[in-house]
Amino acid sequence: MFYETVIISFIVGILSLFAIGVQKNNLHALILTDLLECSLLCIIAAVGTDLAEALILPGLVVSMAEILAIAEVLVVREKVRGKKLNDFKINFDLEILRTSPLFISIILVIYGAILSGFTGGAVIASGLLYYFFCKRVLGENIINRVKWVGICGFSGIAWSLWIVGFLGFYLFPKYWLVFLLFAGLGLVIKVCSKLGLLGMAE
């Protein structure tokens, strides 16, 4: 079980690294980085212990953050060079885009709140993103209604709640359950609000 996974992941990783080295186009190289990330996650997952599972989460966060940053750098670089970029505006009218978003996003938000922690935050964020995209595709302007800076500040407060919960583990180990709930609540609010901001990207 362990050896097959590690061997195939190494084959995939080495092939994709080779392809990134040969590639001339930056956008193709960025997408192949996603493939490299898959093989790295499989190598960690092959260990199969709880610690390995806990190590996958920061790996996911870091890979997502770096793909976001590099994608934004590529876009901004083309802007600085003075090239005209295509508009990210899609307009089409489907029945499902009008009826489904409220229901699906509410279910995802409730499920994410039950999960809590980083996982729950990501689930809630995907629900929020689905809602925002459906509204935007239908042509409703949702960006002006939601204040960007306000969500950032809210996320910062939630992050400090997470820090308080984490400190509480060491200062008052007797009440660990309370501080565990603090940390889980802070992290879920922080991750969902930060990832949800993606829905307002121009």
Partner: protein, 79 residues
């Protein structure tokens, strides 16, 4: 056990498809090939009983695809 082998095969096929497959010069086709590998990764997580990692990977994969598609549309949309 069978989910592990299906996952490994999907991972390998997605990688080969993304690197040497037909029409990979079109970047959307390359992205769709990589999604096959992503499903393979999910099956591998499932077979090692890593629920938390599986849930997070599924939830993260949706915004990630959105970010990549947005970049593709902005940089080389109408050509």
């Amino acid at each position: 056990m069978i989910s592990l082998y299906v996952g490994l095969i999907l991972l390998l096929i997605g990688c080969i498809g993304a690197l040497f497959g037909p029409k990979v010069d079109n970047i959307m086709i390359r992205l769709l090939n990589i999604e096959v590998s992503a499903v393979g990764v999910m099956l591998i997580f499932l077979s090692f009983d890593e629920t938390l990692a599986l849930m997070t990977y599924i939830a993260i994969n949706a915004p990630l695809t959105y970010v990549l598609v947005r970049t593709i549309i902005k940089l080389e949309g109408k050509k």
